[in-house]
């Protein structure tokens, strides 16, 4: 058990450094917080799509209302912000991948962190292009 916060020691309260804004003290922590904050973007996109399928299930009028909302300037602006957040999520996901996956060896040599990150980013660009190609092929 930790000690109570305001326990009196020798007639005075011991100094405790405040934790408020702790992550702004170091650029490393700031990057960590931005990385964690990308979860808000991923959640927001999931909810936007959920609103879409809920509208789709309610029929044509509801779907067209969802489409009209997606075309509003505020939605376009928010989606541009989401795009930036999602790109940062993608970048940071592969940036920390060398630390989150087990060590990999090829020919008895450990694969370097930079190589793993590079392969991940190449895969992300390839997946994005493949998805756009699919949309392009399916266009009316």
């Amino acid at each position: 058990m930790s000690q109570p916060r305001n326990e009196v020691v020798g007639g005075r309260r011991p100094y405790r450094r405040s934790m408020t804004g702790w992550w702004r003290r170091d650029p490393f922590f700031v990057r960590y917080m931005i990385r964690e904050a990308t979860a808000l973007v991923v959640a927001a996109y999931s909810i936007v799509l959920l609103a879409g399928v809920l509208s789709l299930a309610q029929g044509e009028a509801a779907w067209n209302a969802w489409l009209a909302a997606m075309r509003s300037p505020i939605s376009i602006a928010l989606n541009l912000l989401m795009l930036v957040g999602m790109i940062y999520h993608s970048y940071s996901w592969f940036e920390i991948m060398p630390k989150t996956m087990p060590a990999m060896f090829v020919g008895g040599k450990r694969v370097t962190a930079a190589t793993i990150t590079m392969f991940g980013l190449v895969a992300a660009v390839a997946a994005a292009l493949a998805l756009f190609a699919a949309a392009w092929v399916l266009r009316p």
């Binding site: 909810i47 299930a57 993608s90 756009f132 399916l138 266009r139």
Partner: protein, 118 residues
């Protein structure tokens, strides 16, 4: 010893993180920017009959479900573990809100994708 349920949440977090890292940016671009503006892709790309057909096909249905569900489970897990950094030392309530929210989103997606028919 009681088996931990943590690996399931970490697994969903990892799968959702990977899927959103690979497809997230282009999905946002297509559905949120390109099609609404008619930029590079036509606006009719997401017209009602086309999207209904897409959601009725087993492949389209599965794709949309997997994206919605894995994205929200990834986010819920990450947000739950970040609460600590903001001085919210999450107990059962925080866990219930995060994972319960993800469950509600998953079930609503499942329900609407089944409701559009096959």
């Amino acid at each position: 010893m009681k088996r931990s349920n943590a690996p399931i949440f970490w697994g969903l977090f990892g799968a959702g993180g990977m899927l959103s890292a690979l497809l997230g940016p282009m999905l946002v671009f297509i559905t949120g920017i390109a099609v609404p503006l008619g930029f590079l892709l036509p606006r009719e790309q997401m017209s009602y009959p086309r999207m209904l057909a897409f959601a009725q096909h087993w492949a389209g249905k599965s794709f949309v479900f997997v994206v919605i569900a894995l994205f929200i489970w990834h986010a819920a897990h990450r947000i739950f573990h970040s609460l600590h950094d903001f001085g919210i030392h999450g107990g059962t309530l925080a866990k219930l809100l995060c994972y319960g929210g993800a469950l509600v989103v998953t079930l609503l997606a499942l329900w609407s994708l089944l409701a559009v028919g096959f």
